[in-house]
Symmetry: C2
Subunit: 273 residues, 2 copies
């Protein structure tokens, strides 16, 4: 029987974006060990169907369970929106997504009860952020907008390019003309465009990154289940990284996100799980 | 034993782009039946590694063989560049890619022996177009350039948007300043940006779309092997479409490309092949 306290937390994403969530967990829960999986062979998830995203998530959870994780964080908004309900019923392990924590943060942030959500096509089509927010407070109006070019712009290094400003204007013009006072960055890539989005949307809007709140939720969950690693064993926390493709490219990107040197990244044939 | 003449031709791509190749085959070889597979669950291929693209191509070829195809066309430039050599050795069926036909068309088109190639990151990194062109004529200089944002721009409907013109300028400025006189559109999505690329690059450059030459090569291959469908059985040619995800979305896009109503598209669990 594994020691639940020292067992690692599994974190997964369609690719590299979820590293921002892993980083936040490492900040808030420095004693926890993490096993990260990025599905780089099948990225992106944002344009794919619910059935496919559930199947991919199931395979990844089966893989993470072979690493004896004590809990799993779905760092990907698309998988959280489309697959969390299905996999929670299916697996006997605590699983957290980023949508519920992100929604709660927005509900707390809004004063005028008008919230904007930006995300992938699949996330927005699911309407999950609206459902969860209105489940918390039915009086809140939610405006969702898919911004499918944001991910490739970040991945292709256009973060600082003028083209990105034009694409932000193209997607967010209609949202800016509303009077929302909080906006969820409902895709793990979008925080990397935060300063340009903030510049376009203006200072009156509070921008919510679900990663922070997700790490807090994980902390509560581990403490409630008496699974938190209290670090009394004196070991340094241990991070391991797995991907389904292009390990070296992943490792280089991960090194720019994580606050330590990312060790060797291993390739997993995820379709076999 | 199947009848080789009436057996269908298999055509595959990472997604919808290869439909432009299927359309060209249907124009030049109207009597041939086609089984098309689009790997919509794992699209795009252009940012992935060679091992992964070979594994995906093997699975698709195994699937197409269950449909008793007599020959296979890899309509995807990335898979043609990275996987053709491997799968040709592995399977006992004629397999054609788009790189060799596209290269030959460019070799015939260039007068000053300077050819440009635009494609995905994986295609350009493989250097396959340069190898094949210089194998045909070692005196030709080849300039390759990856344009990874072109595919998402086309897929997100930005074909006519000003942003697309700026991205074209960003990628092709250095190529325009050379004196190439022929340019290969080395990705099946790029012909959909042809008019904007032509406007930017100017009239002196001959733009090569490998689809046309690929259909001609297929015709030769079928005739040489006495496998061409001569249509004497009086049946209409039959097209069937398979994808790994999001069949209805595929069917709608396919209807905008193919010169006839695309029938029901079937979803295949390609990872099982």
């Amino acid at each position: 029987m594994m020691n639940k306290k020292t067992a690692p937390v599994g974190v997964f994403d369609s690719g590299v974006g979820g590293l921002t969530v892993a980083r936040e967990i490492s900040r808030q829960l420095p004693d926890e060990n993490i096993v990260y999986f990025g599905d780089t062979a099948r990225v992106p998830y944002g344009s794919k169907s619910q059935n496919t995203i559930i199947r991919f998530s199931e395979q990844i959870i089966r893989f993470l369970k072979t690493k004896e994780v004590k809990a799993i964080v779905i760092a990907c908004n698309t998988a959280s929106a489309l697959a969390l309900d299905a996999v929670k019923d299916e697996f006997d392990i605590p699983i957290l997504g980023v949508v519920i924590p992100g929604a709660r943060a927005a509900v707390e942030a809004t004063k005028n009860r008008k919230v904007g959500v930006v995300g992938t096509e699949a996330t927005v089509q699911s309407g999950m952020y609206t459902k969860v927010i209105q489940g918390m407070n039915p009086e809140i109006t939610v405006i969702e907008k898919a911004c499918p070019l944001f991910v490739p712009l970040v991945e292709e290094g256009f973060k600082e390019h003028q083209v990105t400003e034009e694409v932000i204007e193209y997607y967010l013009e209609s949202m800016r003309s509303t009077d929302i006072d909080a906006m969820i960055l409902g895709c793990t890539h979008y925080p990397l465009l935060r300063s340009k989005i903030r510049a376009y949307m203006g200072d009156k809007i509070q921008i919510v990154n679900p990663a922070y709140e997700t790490a807090m939720d994980l902390k509560c969950l581990l403490e409630e289940n008496d699974m938190a690693n209290d670090g009394t064993e004196g070991q340094h926390s241990n991070y391991s990284f797995y991907v389904s493709d292009a390990a070296e490219k992943f490792r280089k990107f991960a090194n720019t996100v994580m606050p330590f040197d990312v060790p060797i990244t291993n390739v997993v044939n995820i379709e076999g799980y």
